[in-house]
Amino acid sequence: MSLRVFLVDDHAMFRAGVRAELGAHVDVVGEASTVAEAVSRIAATTPDVVLLDVHMPDGGGRAVLEAMRKSHPQVRFLALSVSDAAEDVIGLIRAGARGYVTKTISPDELAAAIRRVAEGDAVFSPRLAGFVLDAFAARPDAPVADPELDQLTNREREVLRLLARGYAYKEIAKELFISIKTVETHVSNVLRKLQMSNRYELSRWAADRRLV
């Protein structure tokens, strides 16, 4: 059975393009162009994965995520945006998206990303890994309130580094002599820590920096 995918984007042209490109790989079960429409139709169709645009009128992808997360925890969200600005990326991840890819992604890679998200894994772009590394690595030795909770382990940082260097999961596995499944676990852990960490520094950093 193929994956059921829902598209949320305020540009009809873009939705049409994605639908055409993805048609062979997945089953596109619905589309929405506004936050309100998305919320009601996702609830009605309960897809496996929602492809979510970040910038839309009335609050954008974040508003959709926040509305859906409690009522439909089984629906996974993959953010798909032209923006790879740090505040957008980190904001969406914190709101509960399981991955973030930019609109320049190729159709095959997008299909692979959707599959990975549907299976419960996280999808990190090299740039996203860079953001996380930047927030954790370039930080002066400030006292940390809950180091156990949100400090990345060395292994996780290594995985992130390789990810940021443009390695695919299976290449990371080969490089570190671990299994692909372990790589995916590490990446999921990073994402979980990123969501749960109450270190406001990270979000402030992302907001201050306004990096592309």
Partner: protein
């Protein structure tokens, strides 16, 4: 300037050749007589119950400035002194010759003149165009300019109140002069009357003033918005539209279209989000510039991720050059559309990784006389105290790893940019 032959001649206040407010020289130009004569006439008229001052204030209040192209000449303050002296002399003479009676009436005239000046000030404050002309007319007097600056509300109020005070003093004075001095009740009445008058003036003028001020504010905001819009429009026109036109013309050439689109995307992104850093000063900016050059030259995409940042020096610049060479090699030989560049600034070392998933090559088979890898990458890194590793497998892509050890203190985090 004004073409007197064809245009109907209008009375202006002169902006150049002026002593006080340009009334006299404006009149002189209009009447085609010497400004000196007009000034003298004003001074002599002073003798008649301050008529000269009244007339001057009246003209000043109602006449617009003439429009002058170019810099107006600064006012000739020196001329003012003799005229003041003459005026004072005249009044003194009048008092001496005509005695007590005359002096009372002339005092009354003076008071009327003061009222007129005060009213003139208020009138000037209330018309925005006048005020702008004022500020424009005074480019050489920075201290006066600040006084008349349209944005400075406090000074504006100060001047308004000053004018009002002058009016009040004049009115009180008149009441005091015309009513026998012993009658103190009349003086109090006069002051009340003056106060009432002033209140009346403010009630009438305040809404107008308020409207004027908000109009000015709106105008200024509008101007700022307009400027921003114009800048955006210029940018879009210069870059985006031209790129789109080029893309249409090169529609068949996929590589060219991609290159154009990528370059345009990058410059738009930079314009929209990027804090500007100089590539000659910051490591991250230098790497991004190198990547942008390679993107443009070889029509490939370079995915740049830089963690941390620091200032550059010779060694860092060498690292950037080596990274650039690695990018160029990947672009030329790997046969891929995307190369990734990852750089990390750590406390004790800089590392740069350039990776592609292209053809790959065998290091052993690279000829000794090829300088790209040996000279520009390996050699350059070792000359500057760093090291380079090249990992390549046929069919599995290439990764160039560059490391440069650093002094600990030179590192700054990305946040401090």
């Amino acid at each position: 300037m004004i073409d007197t032959a064809r245009q109907p001649r209008r009375l202006f206040r002169a902006r150049d050749h002026r002593v006080v407010a340009g009334v006299a020289s404006g009149l002189a130009r209009h009447l085609r007589v010497s400004p000196l004569a007009v000034r003298a006439a004003f001074v002599i008229l002073l003798g008649f119950n301050g008529l000269g001052l009244m007339l001057y204030a009246g003209f000043w209040a109602v006449l617009p400035y003439e429009r002058v192209t170019g810099e107006p000449r600064r006012r000739d303050v020196a001329q003012l002194v003799p005229f003041i002296a003459i005026g004072a002399g005249l009044i003194l003479l009048q008092v001496l010759v005509l005695g007590q009676n005359a002096s009372v009436t002339s005092t009354a005239g003076w008071l009327v003149a003061i009222v007129a000046v005060g009213a003139g000030i208020i009138w000037h404050e209330s018309t925005p165009e006048r005020r702008r002309q004022w500020t424009e007319a005074l480019p050489r007097f920075p201290w006066l300019g600040t006084f008349l600056e349209e944005s400075d509300r406090r000074l504006f109020l100060f001047r308004f109140i000053g004018g009002g005070l002058l009016v009040a003093v004049g009115v009180i004075g008149m009441v005091a002069v015309y009513v026998p001095a012993e009658n103190s009740e009349a003086v109090v009445n006069g002051m009340l009357f003056a106060g009432l008058g002033l209140a009346g003036v403010s009630v009438v003028a305040a809404p107008v003033l308020w409207r004027t001020m908000s109009q000015l504010r709106a105008e200024r905001e509008g101007r700022i918005r307009e400027t921003e819009r114009a800048e955006l429009a210029a940018m879009v026109h210069d870059q985006v539209l031209h790129t789109l036109a080029l893309i249409q013309r090169n529609a068949d050439d996929v590589k060219a279209v991609q290159r154009l689109a990528r370059g345009q995307e990058r410059s738009l992104r930079n314009w929209l989000y990027k804090p500007t850093a100089s590539p000659t000063e910051r490591f991250a900016a230098a790497l991004e510039e190198a990547a942008a050059e390679v993107e443009d030259t070889y029509a490939i995409a370079v995915e740049v991720v830089v963690v941390g940042d620091r200032a550059t020096d010779d060694r860092v610049a060498a690292l950037v050059m080596a990274a650039r060479e690695a990018l160029v090699n990947a672009a030329r030989h790997a046969g891929v559309a995307t190369v990734s560049l990852y750089a990390e600034v750590e406390e004790d070392q800089l590392s740069v990784f350039v990776r592609d998933r292209g053809a790959g090559f065998d290091m052993e088979s690279v000829e000794e006389n090829r300088h790209g890898v040996r000279g520009s990458i390996l050699g350059r890194m070792s000359r500057h105290g760093g090291r380079a590793e090249i990992r390549s497998e046929i069919g599995d892509g290439t990764e160039v790893r560059l490391f440069l050890p650093m002094e600990r203190d030179a590192v700054t985090s990305g946040r401090e940019r």
